[in-house]
Symmetry: none
Subunit: 193 residues, 4 copies
DNA sequence: CATGAATGAGGCTTCATTCAT
DNA sequence: AATGAATGAAGCCTCATTCAT
């Protein structure tokens, strides 16, 4: 009666989870967390409300899962870059450009993450994680700037991160019209040599 | 004939309006728009729920009123700076520093404004206004950079604005620990001379 | 300081009361009792909410006052007709025609009265009064039909009253298009001679 | 695969819908539309407030659904009578008697319908439907009176309809004491032969 | 006599979540 | 694993009424 192996079930589970998360991500990014109802997510994912609760214990956990996945993805991308045998400047540049590419190709993720940074009620659990990521990023920046011979490496790293986030912020606010690539090139040119 | 003069009523009205707006501002900034209930605003303002509707037709209009007032305040501050008889660099610096001061002293306003930029449902009416302010700000920046003799004034202005917003973003995310003043000094030193 | 005599005050009171009642009547008839707010009545009457409560103890009493006045007006009209020295048929006819004229000229009153007949919560106090009026009217009808020599005077009177009310009902539902006068003539012609 | 079949769900839905509509009908008829709260309907139907919104998008739609069902019921009853092979007078009589029976056995429906005719805010959508029914009814009456050989068939039909409605109106205002059957017999006897 | 700011109960509606099947 | 009917707390808003002046 049930010829399905454990692995098959697991595959089904993973597939369903992914469908739900994708639907939720798009809706959260588009309509905000509070503006998106579980019913809508379920409908968009072609799944019943009940099933959704089989995979996620609630709306909050669904959100956490999405964010966690997003962060993991970034992590992987950065790791690849850092493993390359390249100069400090090249690493800095590649990380910045990789980030810009991600913001561009995965706008929903980034809009969602940015929104969340300002929703205290939601962030109670997420904030520590994101702060940690941020610090990690800064430490990496400091190391790179030191390697590049900058005197005030720490302040440079902070400034670099702020500018990067500022550019992304502007881009996210006006994705159709912002000259993201040109700005990135202009910005990075200041650190060349 | 009437026991309370028109002026008296007007004073009372203005006072109540202000109390409600202040309470709402703090709560919106702290807990987000959707996370703040009318009941909570009323309680914080020591006022009944019903009274709130004597002054604002609903939660949305309350928000709009707050944002409008905030924008007007900024506008006034900038105007003062621009009227001074100072060099382009000094104007740029003073505007940046004035902005930083405002972010610091009026954190709630700024957190609210930034949050709003990412709440699509709320922004339908507010977005055009804020985009216009942003553009105005950028045009001013371009003019100043031109005056300072920069070749690529437009890109410089964009970058300057992005960095400023990025710094503020980081500060708002971690107000207790971020070295705002040092970062501003370090940032502005790059444009000196 | 106060040169106004008691009579003058009383005149003012009566005038204010009348203005308020007229405003309320029109609004009740147009938007229904529950659909009309005290605030709206006060505004339409160019009067403050507070003043309204000086004259009427509440919304219900305002309604009662309007209805009472309406009934008194009808009463007076009927009395005039009945005092005339005319035949039973003529009296019946004149009362019917006078009613039709009133329905036509004072549509709001009648719509309101008819509506009220079906609002149990409102009618608790009014119902006894209106039932009494109705019975009075029927007794009068019975007497007239007897005088006219009808065998089953009581049933005739009930039927006559029902038809009259039915015609008015139809007219009130479609005032612009209903041939009220023709219907009245056609209806009364059946009782002629 | 699914633990409850589509048919089972459908049965449950129909049952719940019916319970809610019945509760709402009785309350609307008894206390009026505005006088009946959603909470009360839910309590009377032994159902949560929320469930009501699974079936009806709001109070208005609930009302519309009830009215629509009521009208359909009448329609069916009349159709049966008209399909019979009987004389024009018999048809007129049977329709009148059937109506009287319906008014008697389904007093809530009729009280509700009559009330509604005078609530302008509610009727915006319903009025066109009800006017159409009324006209249909009148056209039928005209046809029957013509068949019966009356000269002024149209006026007769209008008068017949008005009297019928008038009788029902009186009955509805005083259901316990009004001699409905006697009045119907007396009224119809006038058209015999 | 007159005003309108202020109150608070009560109404409609939404939605995360549970649960029987 | 899957469904969707059912719940109930919580939110927004309206409005009759009161009251200080």
């Amino acid at each position: 009666m049930s010829p399905k192996s454990k692995e098959q079930f697991d595959q089904i589970r993973q597939a369903s989870r992914a469908v739900i998360m994708q639907a939720a991500l798009e809706l959260f990014a588009d309509k905000g967390f509070h503006g998106t109802s579980i019913a809508l997510i379920a409908k968009r994912a072609n799944v019943s409300k009940g099933l959704l609760y089989n995979y996620f214990s609630g709306k909050d956990e669904l959100l956490s899962a999405i964010v966690a996945e997003a962060l993991e993805g970034m992590e992987r991308d950065y790791a690849v870059i850092l493993q390359k045998d390249s100069s400090a400047y090249e690493k800095l540049r590649d990380i910045a450009l990789a980030s810009a590419r991600m913001v561009k190709t995965q706008l929903p993720y980034w809009k969602l993450l940015t929104t969340l940074a300002f929703k205290p009620d939601i962030m109670d659990k997420l904030k520590p994680i994101m702060v940690e990521k941020e610090l990690e990023f800064l430490r990496l920046g400091v190391a790179l700037f030191k390697e590049m011979g900058y005197e005030e490496a720490e302040q440079e790293a902070y400034l670099f991160g702020a500018t990067l986030d500022g550019i992304f912020l502007h881009y996210m606010n006006f994705p159709e019209g912002y000259p993201l690539d040109e700005m990135m090139a202009f910005f990075l040119s200041k650190y060349e040599r």
